[in-house]
């Protein structure tokens, strides 16, 4: 594997982000309306990033039992169960990684169910714990085509959120400030899209596994200048690699697409396994979830509503199939891996026949591996290694 030099600035940026919390603090889902919150001067904390950190540090299974003990099923979202469990244990990976004594306390909690209903229950727990105001955006779900009526509904909900923010901060909504945040967010997300698109090159200068690490700022810092700067730097490095014909893998023979959640506790093992077999997992639905290419400064609220409603996870099966086919074509993919995450029903796209339809329509082999985002009790190393090696052999033959 060929490590990216930008990783050092990424670490510094994430460290400075986690040192930056000051009142008022808003909690937000990763594909929630962070731009509106920043426009009100909130520093924004994202529990999903915390969940991913718990996953990467392979501590989820210490915490999940505490959430189960508090009445949550062990088979619902393991971000939710490990995060609530960590809270109940008064523990956080932020302490070791960034010196924080705990997660920042919220003044307002905001979620968007565009990704799943679980976020409402997850964030609702904290609203009760902190006796904190909470507001949810509930867009229509699983959409094929998106109508203006559906966007109007979301805009209406965003306007309600504006009123809640005004009440919480005591400040009037400043449209110019919002547009400026949206401009920065748009710039960052466009750069992130270009970063991901470098994987169209042969060989690809980055992998999905790099993406899962370098996506940190687009999740937690979109709407800031630092985020724009970071992706400018990362893009330069990747373009330099392309210019030099330098790939993320020493010998990229096969190009793989990853659908679904990462297995956070097995990023390195999976990255090494694919690399050892000369297979580059070059792109994913997951990392593309933070490409919001509909932001429009001339229609800020409408475009915000559209951008957050049209994400892959919120689409119907036909649209998902179409989007996957386009990725397969654009990135010249040889095989697609679907991760069936036991506790993430909403982001396991293999359960309604999509892999079979995709395979029939593209002729590209598909593989389903069972696992989980954070709960490694649902992941079998030996079995998945056998599946992945067979799959690569199948592609190679």
């Amino acid at each position: 594997m060929n490590p990216l030099k930008s990783t050092e600035s990424l670490k510094e940026l994430m460290c400075s982000y986690y040192q930056s919390f000051k009142t008022p603090v808003a909690w937000c889902t990763s594909a929630g309306p962070a731009e509106l919150l920043r426009a009100f001067g909130f520093t924004v904390y994202f529990p999903e990033n915390h969940g991913a950190l718990i996953g990467v540090t392979r501590t989820a299974n210490h915490f999940i039992p505490l959430a189960i003990n508090a009445g949550y099923s062990g088979e619902i979202c393991s971000y939710l169960t490990c995060d609530i469990g960590a809270y109940l244990a008064k523990s956080s990976p932020l302490t070791k990684a960034y010196g924080l004594s705990s997660v920042p306390q919220p003044d307002l909690i905001v979620y968007n169910t565009n990704q799943c209903r679980e976020v409402a229950d997850w964030f609702g727990f904290y609203a009760r714990e902190f006796d904190c105001p909470i507001h949810g955006i509930y867009p229509p779900r699983h959409l094929e085509n998106i109508s203006s009526a559906e966007i109007d509904l979301v805009v209406h909900q965003l306007k309600d959120l504006i009123s809640v923010c005004e009440e919480t901060t005591g400040e009037k909504f400043d449209q110019d400030r919002f547009i400026e945040v949206l401009r920065l967010s748009s710039e960052a997300t466009n750069l992130w899209q270009q970063v991901l698109q470098t994987a169209k090159s042969h060989p690809s200068p980055m992998t999905f596994f790099d993406g899962t690490i370098h996506m940190g700022p687009i999740v937690v810092l979109r709407g800031t200048q630092e985020c724009v700067n970071y992706y400018g730097t990362l893009l330069d490095e990747l373009n330099e690699r392309i210019k030099n014909g330098e790939g993320a893998l020493a010998n990229e023979k096969y190009r793989i697409f990853w659908d679904g959640m990462p297995v956070w506790g097995r990023l390195r093992a999976l990255s090494d396994l694919f690399a050892k077999n000369n297979a580059a997992v070059i792109t994913s639905t997951y990392c593309n979830s933070w490409v919001f290419d509909s932001f429009d400064l001339n229609a800020p609220l409408q475009s915000l509503a559209l951008a957050y409603t049209q994400i892959f996870i919120n689409r119907g099966e036909e649209t998902k199939l179409m989007m996957l086919k386009k990725w397969v074509e654009d990135y010249e993919i040889d095989g697609i891996v679907f991760h069936d995450a036991k506790t993430c029903f909403n982001n396991s796209n293999n359960r309604f026949g999509l892999p079979d339809r995709l395979r029939k329509e593209t002729g590209i082999p598909t593989l389903v591996i069972e696992g989980d985002l954070n709960d490694l009790r649902f992941y079998s190393d030996g079995q998945n290694q056998t599946k992945i090696e067979t799959f690569i052999e199948q592609i190679a033959a």
Partner: protein
């Protein structure tokens, strides 16, 4: 001395060795527990093979392949089963390989090229380990279990896919005085239910292989009743993967020879 090729299948329950000659004929085969108390068993068998046969190359497969170093090529058991089953069944088919800890459904072409595959999820239900665990609780001897089950006309099934809960159910059956033959058949029906739930191309013939079919042949009869496809059981179904590994070892030897030949002609 004739050239020979060795397939080593380090399965989760049993290790199978298979030696073939250049005409694909099996010259030696043996099976023994993978993790027996006698840790030297594998080496003793390998010593015997190396002494008796001129082994040109070795292919290792099975879960144990990952850490096993003394070989020329490693392939997964899915690849090996597909190649092994294609020798006698050289047409498009589904290979169902029921092993110690997994069930593999492999769609492959006549040459053994894998076109698509499924495996059971992370659960031992439907596998050899399930039968061993549950049969032990039912106090059934493994060896006569198939005959025993065949004599039952009961349709009583174990409802649970979970090995632990299945054992609890068996305990209830024992308390209720369910005869051993009905318990044996019930265990098999549970396996069959698990296997028929997996995804197949229903237009392709099926080749059944793996240790479970070898030890529990009645399962193939029950599967034939439940699945509409034409179904075949090869001779020595437990050795199909090791045999496939031996065939792959032979291909590898040919490949090494031709690249050595290429190098020598370039150097020459």
């Amino acid at each position: 001395m004739t050239d020979h090729f060795l397939g080593i299948d380090l399965g989760s329950s049993f290790t199978k060795l298979c030696v073939i000659d250049s005409d694909d004929k099996v010259r030696f085969k043996t099976v023994f527990p993978t993790l027996s108390r006698n840790r030297h068993k594998l080496q003793e068998n390998l010593d015997f093979v190396y002494e008796k046969f001129a082994i040109q190359s070795r292919c290792v497969t099975g879960y144990g392949r990952i850490t096993y170093a003394d070989c020329d090529v490693k392939k997964t058991e899915l690849i090996c089963s597909a190649v092994g089953a294609s020798k006698d069944f050289p047409y498009r088919k589904t290979v169902i390989d029921i092993g110690g800890e997994d069930v593999k459904i492999i769609a492959c072409d006549g040459s053994g090229k894998v076109e698509h595959f499924h495996m059971n999820d992370k659960c031992a239900a439907g596998t050899g380990a399930f039968i061993m665990e549950v049969a032990e609780k039912a106090e059934l001897g493994d060896e006569d279990m198939s005959q025993l089950a065949k004599s039952s006309d009961s349709a009583k099934e174990l409802n649970s896919f979970c090995t632990v809960f299945a054992k609890t159910e068996i305990l209830q059956w024992k308390f209720a005085g369910v005869p051993p033959e009905d318990m044996a058949k019930g265990i098999y029906l549970s396996i069959v239910n698990r296997i028929v739930k997996m995804s197949y191309d229903r237009n392709l013939p099926v080749i059944l292989c793996g240790g479970v079919i070898d030890f529990h042949p009645y399962i193939s009869e029950l599967l034939k009743e439940r699945l509409p496809m034409e179904m075949h059981v090869p001779e020595d179904p437990q050795y199909i993967s090791a045999y496939g590994a031996a065939l792959i070892a032979m291909r590898e030897a040919d490949r090494l020879k031709s690249s050595a030949h290429l190098v020598s002609s370039v150097e020459g």
